[in-house]
């Protein structure tokens, strides 16, 4: 009888304990939920509202996305100070290298990023991509990229070009479009000339490349700045070749405009930018930040890059690219100022004897 009573009392106490715990949890949980905020610094198209919404629901968190439109504004936001810090950031390999050196990023635990297993081998060999690792630790995970290949008009160019050198072919004089920017033009021209490291040119190589760029200028119809401008000129002036600074995005645009064009990665290789996700040192909730990076690599999310942005993702190879295509990820160049000064003279039409 007494034992029974004891049992009853114990049971009552247990129920009481559970009730108290439940009430406490109910009181405390919303507070935690409200505090779980992830601040994302990214480029337009990387974190669309629907994608963000799914993440918020799945991880019971709030995501604040800030978009940037240039490397410079990205740099400014990363250095804005304590009031305006971010947990995760999307930046290209060159910028990631700068931020890692400055100690703004923290290493990533690959074991907590299981979706990296879906990535192509090219992107899993992280140490082969300059700027992503430092001291044996991984600081960023590739997310999206665009290779600057060559677009050609199938009617005028019957055999797909194998090298960027085709841009200099006098057959296409006045039918070539190039991009108006210093760094990439020097790099791809150096590649076409067979230079090993197109990002680190010595004085001699620099002179050769500059003269080669003048030769390219003389073979051009014009330079373009925006993809829309390139499409308009290409159609209006029946161009034959186009240096695709914006990659496959431009191919899509030209197809839409009715052009019969092809896209090739030259055999000497195409330079490409590669945007990666990284976690800042200021990240308040590393596991949530890692969850975001892993989420970005989910097939359903990464698939949106080609679908919506015309960009390539790191999970599937676009039809224009094979595993053998040589892609050279952007690296910091030896002297930006020098390249830009030279470029200014080239684009203004200075005669070769003035170089």
């Amino acid at each position: 009888m007494a034992a029974d009573q004891n049992k009853m009392t114990n049971k009552c106490i247990n129920i009481f304990k559970i009730a108290i715990l439940t009430i406490l949890l109910a009181l405390v949980l919303p507070v935690f939920a409200a505090e779980k905020t992830l601040r994302v610094l990214a480029w337009p198209g990387y974190a669309d509202p629907d994608v963000v919404k799914v993440f918020e629901a799945r991880f019971h968190s709030k995501v604040e996305v800030t978009f940037v439109d240039s490397d410079e504004s990205l740099w400014d936001k990363m250095h804005a100070g304590h009031d305006n810090t971010f947990d995760v950031v999307a930046a290209n390999t060159v910028e990631i290298r700068r931020y890692t050196r400055e100690g703004l990023l923290q290493p990533l635990d690959l074991a907590r990023l299981p979706n990296t297993r879906f990535q192509l081998p090219r992107f899993r060999a992280l140490s082969s991509i300059g700027g992503l690792t430092r001291g044996g630790k991984v600081y960023a995970i590739p997310f999206t990229y665009s290779a600057m290949g060559l677009i050609y008009d199938r009617k005028q160019v019957s055999v797909p070009p194998r090298s960027m050198s085709e841009l200099w072919n006098p057959r296409y004089r006045g039918k070539v479009l190039a991009f108006n920017s210093a760094q990439h033009n020097f790099s791809f021209t150096a590649l076409a000339l067979g230079v090993d490291n197109p990002f680190q040119l010595d004085a001699n190589q620099m002179r050769r490349v500059a003269r080669q760029l003048i030769a390219l200028r003389r073979n051009l119809l014009s330079y373009y700045s925006l993809p829309e401008e390139a499409t308009r000129l290409f159609i209006k002036h029946k161009s034959a070749l186009l240096f695709a600074n914006y990659g496959t995005q431009q191919l899509t645009q030209l197809h839409k405009a009715g052009a019969d064009v092809g896209y090739v990665i030259p055999e000497e290789g195409a330079i490409a930018w590669l945007d990666c996700w990284a976690m800042t040192k200021a990240a308040r909730d590393p596991s949530l930040a890692l969850a975001w990076i892993d989420y970005m690599l989910e097939p359903a999310v990464s698939r949106l890059l080609p679908e919506r942005q015309g960009l390539a993702n790191t999970l599937t190879s676009p039809p224009e690219l094979s595993d053998k295509s040589r892609i050279i990820w952007l690296q910091p160049v030896e002297d930006v100022g020098q390249r830009e000064a030279l470029w200014g003279k080239i684009v203004s039409g200075n005669l070769p004897e003035r170089f």
């Binding site: 439109d69 240039s70 006045g174 200028r217 003389r218 051009l220 119809l221 014009s222 330079y223 002036h237 200014g344 003279k345 684009v347 203004s348 039409g349 200075n350 005669l351 004897e353 003035r354």
Partner: protein, 574 residues
């Protein structure tokens, strides 16, 4: 204290008055403002359209200069690099002409002759460097074949003029034009055989162009210019211009949403004003006009805009605004006064009614009422007056009846003398009054002798007449302060008060007896009545009314026994 009807009505009427004048004033003011702004908008639109025409004129003038230079026969020779004798001299003469054009037109930043051959190498080139004219020669000349103003112009028919988009000139070595927003006009140079061998290009700095366009614009006007996508090229704030050149689009559609139709080509002009849309165009009115620009087949255009401070426009309406405010204030004041007067006039008759009702209630006084009014208040007053009068007459009648009833209750209806109840009441009061003073009272019980026979033999009418006469005689035989009452039948009773009555009572009794004993003439007959009187004294014979009356009664019987027509004093010992 709660405000009365007058105050409430005053406040209500005053509020209505103030509201009415305020609303009227506001509408007058805002209508006037809208009229002013509409007028100013029309004027501004006209100014902007004129500006647009002026821009076309200025561009045509520049185009004419370019065509003149291109038409010179030596231009084709120099551009075509013809190897002719005296070539250099011809080139120098042509260069002098180019130089003269530059000198005559300070707004030109560059004038050039560019050949199709040699990758678009410049053949003749004059730059402006500050105020200085610079001729660029030799290896300083540049290849321009890859610029749209060259390759697009080379594709044009003779006599046509290419107008470039307005962009920042990034061509190095262009002296003053370098880094400045620039417009280029170019026209093909054609040989007599009809082949296009080069182009004449005139560069104009946007600033010079706009200065020329807006030279006669009134002060206070601000100029806007955008390209066909809406990018600002001219803006009162220079930081807002050429955003696209710095990798950032700054569009007029974002600043002024209403300008969108200009760019989807549904409208050619748009007006924006800060009065209707204060959020977008704060304190301004603006007019935007789409202006064709360049070759018609390219469907290019720019958007010109002019802005004026809204304050300038509304200044004219300011005095009206002030007088409106004054008027509104005056009318508000007037409406307050009128409200007070009117509500008092309305409530005064009501107050009169209230006053009349109150004083009627408290004092039954008939105060004046506004009965002469012809309105509803007059009807109410008349009804009330009627009601009041009826009420008053009813009340008077009732009080008379009450008095009569009271008299009946205390008096004998036949003789008018106090009745038994009244007598006992009086005697009790008299006992109370003399109890302390030690004075005496006397009660005289009077019974008529043989009255029954009178009644029986001569009828009740005679009996009644006799009783009335007896009552009159008793009354007149006594002093005013003595009380005479009829107890019933032929019994009367008298109360005598005053000092020394012990000695006076027999005298009074004798006087009564003799007064009663006189003949009474009634119904033509002579009658003689006599009476017996019993006397009791206070406090000697009793201290209560009942005792005194009882003892006087028994004394009266003694008098009757003693032989009627006499009086007897109560004797306790008997």
């Amino acid at each position: 204290m709660r405000p009365g009807l007058t105050v409430k009505l005053s406040v209500l009427l005053a509020c209505i008055g103030i509201l009415a004048s305020g609303v009227t004033g506001y509408y007058a003011y805002s209508t006037n403002q809208s009229l002013l702004v509409n007028e100013a908008e029309r004027n501004l639109l006209t100014s902007t359209e004129l500006l647009s025409q002026r821009l076309s004129t200025v561009l045509n003038d520049i185009a004419a200069d370019a065509l003149t230079l291109a038409d010179m026969p030596s231009s084709a020779k120099v551009a075509g690099l013809d190897d002719l004798p005296g070539d250099d001299a011809a080139k120098e003469r042509l260069a002098q002409v180019f130089g003269t054009v530059m000198r005559l037109h300070p707004q030109y930043a560059q004038v050039r002759l560019i050949s199709r051959q040699q990758f678009g190498l410049e053949q003749i080139r004059f730059d402006r460097d500050g105020d200085r004219l610079v001729r660029v020669t030799g290896s300083q000349l540049q290849e321009k074949g890859h610029f749209p103003y060259v390759f697009e112009t080379l594709a044009l028919a003779p006599g046509r003029v290419y107008v470039s988009p307005i962009t920042v000139n990034h061509e190095q070595g262009a002296h003053s034009a370098e880094g400045a927003p620039t417009l280029r006009l170019a026209t093909p140079v054609v040989t007599p055989a009809g082949s296009v061998v080069g182009v004449v290009v005139i560069n104009v700095r946007l600033k010079s162009l706009l200065d020329a366009v807006q030279s006669d614009l009134p002060a206070g006007h601000q100029l806007y210019l955008t390209n066909e996508w809406g990018d600002f090229l001219a803006h009162p704030n220079p930081a807002m211009t050429f955003g696209f050149d710095k990798g950032r689009r700054l569009l007029v559609q974002d600043s002024y949403e209403q300008t969108r139709p200009l760019f989807d080509k549904t409208r050619t002009s748009v007006l924006v004003n800060g009065l209707d849309d204060p959020q977008r165009a704060k304190g301004q009115i603006l007019a935007f006009v789409r202006t064709p620009f360049g070759l018609p087949e390219n469907h290019q255009f720019v958007v010109l805009g002019l802005a004026r401070p809204l304050e300038d426009v509304l200044r004219g309406g300011k005095s009206l605004g002030e007088s409106t405010i004054q008027m509104v204030l005056a009318f508000s004041l007037l409406s307050i006064v009128l409200a007070v007067v009117f509500s008092r006039a309305l409530t005064r008759p009501l107050q009169m009614l209230t006053h009349a009702a109150t004083s009627f209630q408290t004092r039954h006084a008939l105060e004046a009422l506004p009965v002469t009014r012809t309105d509803e208040i007059g009807v109410l007053a008349r009804c009330f007056d009627q009601m009041r009068k009826e009420l008053k007459s009813h009340m008077e009648k009732m009080s008379q009846n009450q008095q009569e009833l009271r008299h009946l209750a205390h008096h004998d209806s036949l003789t008018g003398l106090p009745n038994r109840m009244q007598f006992f009441h009086q005697i009790e009061r008299a006992i109370e009054a003399v109890a302390e003073s030690g004075l005496q009272l006397a009660v005289l019980f009077i019974d008529l002798d043989h009255f029954k026979q009178i009644n029986d033999q001569m009828g009740h009418a005679v009996g009644d007449q006799v009783l009335i006469v007896v009552a009159q005689r008793l009354r007149s035989a006594l002093r005013g302060e003595d009380v005479v009452a009829r107890l019933g039948g032929d019994e009367f009773i008298v109360l005598i008060k005053g000092p020394g009555i012990v000695t006076e009572v027999p005298v009074i009794a004798a006087k009564i007896l003799s007064a009663l004993n006189e003949d009474i003439m009634t119904h033509g007959r002579r009658l003689q009545v006599c009476a017996s009187i019993g006397i009791s004294l206070f406090p000697d014979d009793g201290v209560t009314a009942e005792e005194l009356v009882l003892r006087a009664d028994s004394a009266m019987y003694k008098a009757k026994v003693n032989g009627r027509y006499t009086f007897a004093r109560y004797q306790a010992a008997e």
